[in-house]
Amino acid sequence: MPETSFRSGLFARIEGLPIIVVFALILGLFMYTAPEVFLAPQIYTTLLSTAPPLILLGVGLTFIIGAGEIDLSFPSVIAFSGYVFAVLFKEYQLGWIAVLGSLASGLLVGVVNGLLIARVGIPSFIATLGTQFFWSGMATVLSGGRSYALRGAEDSSVWQLLVGNFGDPNAIAWQDQVSIQALWTALIVVLLWFILNRHRFGEHILFIGDSNDVARVVGINVEREKIRLFTLMGGLAAIAAMMLTLENKNFFGNQGQGYLLTAIAAVLIGGTSIFGGRATIVGTVFGCFIIWILEAGLVASGLTGAWVRTVQGLIFLIAIVFYLLVEEPGRRVELMRRLGLRREAGRSFAAGRTAGPPRRAGPRQS
């Protein structure tokens, strides 16, 4: 049985090992096809300055998907909280209060999501699809479709402490280009790893993802934890929004759109179960690296931008199929049966079709 050897072997002991190996292979491939880019340090300092928003979103989604839920509204938080930040920072010159305001707006979006899902009982897919439209619409209405250029932001302490560089800002050596947001992101990721794997809250999230009914029966307050869960996601998305806006020194209304698929893909590539109950932060971080490096590498290897999404989509699908085969053999059987891919199942599917009420208009058997 392949899955037992996977479990008892190295793969089970080191978190995210399969995905780390895949990342190393892809990186090696790009070092071979585009050595001038991938054997120089600049690409990695660029990674450290531009990957943090994706990683923060991915890590938040790891909790969400681990709980068997989904959040589609985080791109709108990137827009809305980014707008709140840009306006308070630029128009009102509020500095650190702009940071707090933006964070509060993200938490608000998260709480509303949590209340709709846990208290009202709307499935998260639907609830967050709705709030995605609402908040991104809100951002567009409030900003009037304008973008905000934050010229001169690098002189502020907000910019320097959130997205500044470790070295002399005017130096051009790569060592001076290492961005501080990489450090904040690393700290948040480590903290969230401990929350997921060692804290009561993380354990509750995984049991909820396993089964809401079981979670309730063992004494978990499922509603309260779900509200916290979505609030956490909102807060992380707001931090991502600020980092993105400050790094670009610009806010524009649909700055979150590119993240919807990439962030979800990073989590699932990383090995967090689509069915909930199992989640890996290490996997997600390497999933993010893969998504990011594919983009850089394909372009550097001379492929057009249109190829990037195609290849990302393909890797995403391969990863999901891989995890389905290895981690969830039971679900695979279920899936095959539903698709009519097994002989016995195929027969019963056909039998079901003749016995049940005909879907399509046709002669009824009697």
Binding site: R198, F201, D210, V214, R216, V217, V218, G219, I220, G277
Partner: protein, 259 residues
């Protein structure tokens, strides 16, 4: 907190008054009145679908009753805030008939989830939990060193082993009231004896138990009192010393025919 409560003077560990439960049009519990003494083993028997599990779930905060009142240690409880966590805090432990283990989670988490041993910030003391889980595994039902450890996931266990985990968990928490909803269904003969032995120990240590069981010989053997529930109603309160298993079987068959 529960220490001071259990030291206090009370006659009934739990009491239900006029409890009703509806599932849409289904009237699952009809005007239930019952009281369980602080050191009483009460057997709950009745047909499939009679309402036994529903009664337990209402009592332990899994679902609220549609009407009625519940008392714990003679004090009324606020039903709008009742929950499994509250029941645990009041030293009531339940082995539910339905799934009550997280399939993909390791056993050591399953033993403690909902009441983890943590530091002040809520971080779990993994080593301590694993050590206790190891002890429970060694002393519990259905495990004779068959390559199952505290890191195994529930998915890997057989039905009886799962049952053993749920019962082991209940044994560990040493509660004042232990509720067992058909704990022996998946167990082999020898393991069933261990469960019955466990019920006797509950009695000897001065605590209480509600024991739901379809095997009449088993409940008859350990219970101080038998309550018969039929279509959501408690229809008889029987002293097992005054009625043999044969007579009890007779009575229940009779009850069905007079439906």
């Amino acid at each position: 907190m529960n220490e001071t409560q259990s030291d206090g003077d009370f006659t009934h560990i739990v009491r239900m008054e006029g409890v009703q439960k509806f599932f849409g049009a289904v009237h699952a519990l009809r005007n239930i009145n019952l009281a369980i003494g602080r050191n009483e083993i009460v057997g709950l028997i009745g047909d499939n679908g009679a309402g036994k599990s529903t009664l337990i779930k209402v009592l332990t905060g899994v679902m609220p009753p549609s009407a009625g009142r519940i008392f714990v240690r003679d004090r009324p409880i606020d039903l709008s805030r009742h929950s499994v966590g509250m029941a645990h805090a009041m030293s009531i432990e339940t082995v539910y008939q339905d799934r009550s283990l997280g399939e993909k989670q390791p056993l050591w988490r399953n033993f403690f989830v909902g009441r983890q041993i943590t530091d002040r910030l809520g971080f779990i003391r993994v080593k301590e939990q694993k050590r206790i889980a190891e002890e429970i595994l060694l002393n519990t039902i259905g495990f004779r060193g068959v390559g199952i450890g505290v890191d195994s996931t529930v998915k890997q266990l057989s039905g009886g082993e799962r049952q053993g985990i749920a019962i082991g968990r209940a044994m560990h928490f040493n509660s004042d009231l232990i509720i067992l909803d058909e704990p022996t269904v998946a167990l082999a003969v020898k393991e069933v004896r261990k469960v019955l032995e466990f019920v006797r120990r509950i009695k000897e240590s001065g605590r209480a138990c509600i024991y739901i069981e379809h095997n009449l010989a088993h409940v008859h053997e350990v219970a101080d009192r038998l309550l018969v529930i039929d279509r959501g109603e408690i229809v008889a309160d029987i002293d097992p010393r005054e009625m043999s298993v044969a007579a009890l079987t007779e009575y229940l068959i009779d009850l069905q025919q007079h439906r």
